[in-house]
């Protein structure tokens, strides 16, 4: 398997899918120059008809995507930073998420909305949000969050092939992460979580940019507490792999959910609710949530970094689950 960077894997998936279906178009602000690098080279390869720089007009960008998709295109709007989803939110929440139902199923909306999310890099509150809650709550859109180059490629392909509006949320600052990526048509099915590390005492349930740190925390739990932690990468938030979540906690009896969302109505609190509903008999201890407190992201690193989930916070939450001598 060739090794490549996160951003190259996304770029490759975009190119392969645009090759595969000539009705696929990519639109967004500076998709040609591509500050994140994910769309670089696509304009040269597919031409200005199919790859278009748009003006700074997010309301139009999302509206156009809904309209073009309803009329037969497969559309990939790139929103740049996830906060700009809010700027174009009307056509997302009122059109993309609802038109299929409201048309009585007459249309499909094959749209893949790309945005780069997350904090930790002193970009301040308007360039650092993690919009999982907002999007997962719409119901009419799918949401995927890649964590490594291989599932970045696989999820992007699945997102583009989906006939529903699908958000592909890129973990900010992770474009340079390298990993093995299968050649060719590797599609990661929507709605399937994956076990990144097996364990028997505790399930660490997470996604996206949190997985790398969570894997490190799992190692620390092994060496420091003798706790064997399983790491479950959700990959898709909508549809959510409830079966995998319940199966993991069925094996371990304990769960910590690690999520970069603000805590209120987060993915973490939703997973905790599912476990309380359907996994109650498995649970040996209350489900713990490691999230961002309910504040906006400050700029100064001294104030921002402590708000983010960290291996430290996971380890101390785990300590509370395994009192005195672990196991």
């Amino acid at each position: 398997m060739p090794r490549m960077r996160f951003i190259q894997a996304i770029n490759q998936a975009l190119a392969e899918e645009m090759e595969r279906d000539p009705r696929t178009i990519l639109i967004g602000e500076d998709v040609e120059a591509s500050i994140f690098g994910d769309t670089r080279g696509l304009l040269d390869r597919f031409g200005a008809d199919r790859v278009r720089n748009t003006p700074i007009s997010e309301q139009a960008l999302t509206g156009i995507s809904a309209g073009a998709a309803a009329c037969g295109c497969r559309v990939i709007p790139h929103m740049m930073f996830s906060n700009f989803i809010y700027t174009g939110f009307d056509a997302i929440a009122n059109q993309m998420a609802k038109l299929r139902l409201m048309s009585g199923g007459q249309i499909t909306l094959p749209i893949t909305v790309i945005a780069n999310y997350g904090g930790g890099r002193s970009t301040a509150a308007q360039h650092s949000d993690t919009p999982f809650s907002l999007l997962t709550n719409l119901a009419g859109v799918e949401v995927v969050v890649p964590s490594t180059p291989d599932n970045a490629k696989g999820l992007m392909k699945a997102a583009i092939r989906s006939d529903n509006p699908t958000f592909f949320l890129e973990p900010g600052g992770r474009g340079g992460d390298a990993g093995d990526v299968p050649i060719g048509d590797c599609v990661t099915p929507l709605g399937e979580a994956r076990v990144m590390r097996e364990g028997s005492d505790l399930s660490l349930i997470t996604m996206g940019s949190m997985t790398r740190m969570t894997l490190l925390a799992a190692k620390r739990l092994e060496t420091e507490l003798g706790v064997s932690a399983e790491v479950l990468d959700l990959q898709s938030l909508v549809p959510l792999d409830t079966t995998a979540i319940l199966a993991s906690v069925g094996r371990t009896g304990r769960a910590i959910v690690v999520d970069e969302s603000r805590d209120a109505c987060s993915v973490a609190s939703h997973v905790a609710a599912i476990l309380a509903d359907k996994g109650f008999d498995h649970l040996k201890a209350p489900v713990q949530r490691i999230t961002v407190p309910d504040t906006a992201m400050p700029y100064a690193p001294s104030a921002e970094l402590p708000l983010l989930p960290s291996a430290e916070r996971i380890v101390s939450a785990a300590k509370a689950l395994f009192p005195v001598t672990a196991k």
């Binding site: 602000e29 500050i35 700074i56 309301q59 301040a124 001294s302 104030a303």
Partner: protein, 331 residues
């Protein structure tokens, strides 16, 4: 109106004061660019070097009580509105002594007590906010004016139309100032913007000025009329100022882009029309000050910047709970 109709000139004192302030902006941003390279700032910066005359020309006609809305490229607006340079550096260095206590950083430097109703990371967001400030001003009835700085790129947000319509309909004292520097990030205006931006205001019956934003006198003269129009209760006004940012969109662009998006010749051509140098030439030509005096003004600006660096460096990192405490009033 192609430019200001009158030929009125600022007197020597005003011209020199504008020059001083332009120098402070230029020197501050040169320093910030070095600071980013040195790793002194936790985040990146968007510099306005080359655009100083717009901020200065407009703000020198505003009173302290007047408001402005600023952008992601807002250091110049901040200093032009007379806000403290020390608190700006501390903010950009991520210190508790910063104007926003280190919570906002470069894109958000704003002293609300001096009338800056936010410097925004959301392109175009200032349009609505300035129109709202205009509404508050109208209700108050004391003749305050709100000036909205926004880019040529921001002019493509749909809210521009909404705000032009409402401000004209309600005769709000809002001065729209489009800083047209020819680029939206890395897209040349011609590839993302159709027509003439200031023409967009005309159907709403809003008076329009289309000016050389690198000529501080032209900007000042225009502001004299446009601010007066707003203050008189006649409704909004619209200024489009053509200008250029030398350092590009933001401080890390050379690292993230694979190919250049503008030519050295273009940058040099604009440098030949540098607003700071032109103002100095005008001062000398008018004998408002001599070379030695201009030199001294430069040294003064350097000293201010040096002091600001020291102030920023001596600042303290905000404590981790700051965001929690500041999020909601009363907590």
């Amino acid at each position: 109106m192609a430019a200001s109709a009158s030929n009125i000139q600022p007197d020597d004192g005003v011209l020199i004061e504008m020059y001083r302030r332009m120098l402070l902006i230029r020197k501050s941003e040169e320093q910030l660019f070095r600071d980013v390279k040195l790793g002194r700032t936790p985040g990146q910066v968007h510099l306005s070097d080359g655009q100083e005359a717009v901020a200065i020309g407009i703000c020198s006609l505003l009173e302290d009580r007047d408001q402005i809305t600023s952008t992601h490229r807002g250091h110049g607006h901040y200093l032009a509105k007379g806000c403290d340079v020390n608190a700006m550096f501390a903010e950009i260095y991520g210190k508790a002594e910063g104007i926003c206590r280190g919570m906002g950083g470069s894109m958000h430097v704003a002293d609300y007590s001096k009338g800056i109703v936010g410097a925004n990371g959301i392109v175009g967001a200032g349009l609505g906010i300035a129109t709202g400030a205009g509404l508050a001003n109208q209700l108050e009835g004391e003749g305050r004016v709100a000036a909205c700085f926004f880019g040529d790129g921001a002019a493509n947000q749909g809210s521009l139309m909404e705000c032009l319509n409402i401000s004209s309909l309600w005769r709000l004292p809002v001065l729209f100032v489009c800083e047209n520097n020819g680029y939206s990030e890395f897209s040349p205006s011609g590839t993302v913007t159709s027509g003439v931006i200031s023409d967009r205001a005309k159907p709403f019956g809003i008076p329009v000025w289309n000016i050389d934003g690198n000529d501080v006198v032209d900007v000042w003269r225009t502001a004299l009329e446009a601010v007066d129009h707003c203050r008189s209760g006649a409704g909004p006004a619209f200024v489009e100022a053509r200008t250029y940012r030398y350092s590009g969109h933001f401080s890390a662009e050379a690292m993230v882009l694979s190919t250049p998006y503008r030519s050295d010749e273009e940058i040099e051509a604009w440098r030949a029309r540098d607003p700071v140098a032109r103002t100095r030439a005008l001062i000398i030509g008018r004998e408002a000050a001599n070379d030695a005096e201009c030199e001294r003004m430069e040294l003064e600006a350097d000293a201010h910047v040096e002091g600001a660096v020291a102030f920023g460096e001596a600042g303290t990192a905000p404590c981790p709970g700051t965001a929690n405490r500041l999020m909601r009033a009363g907590s």
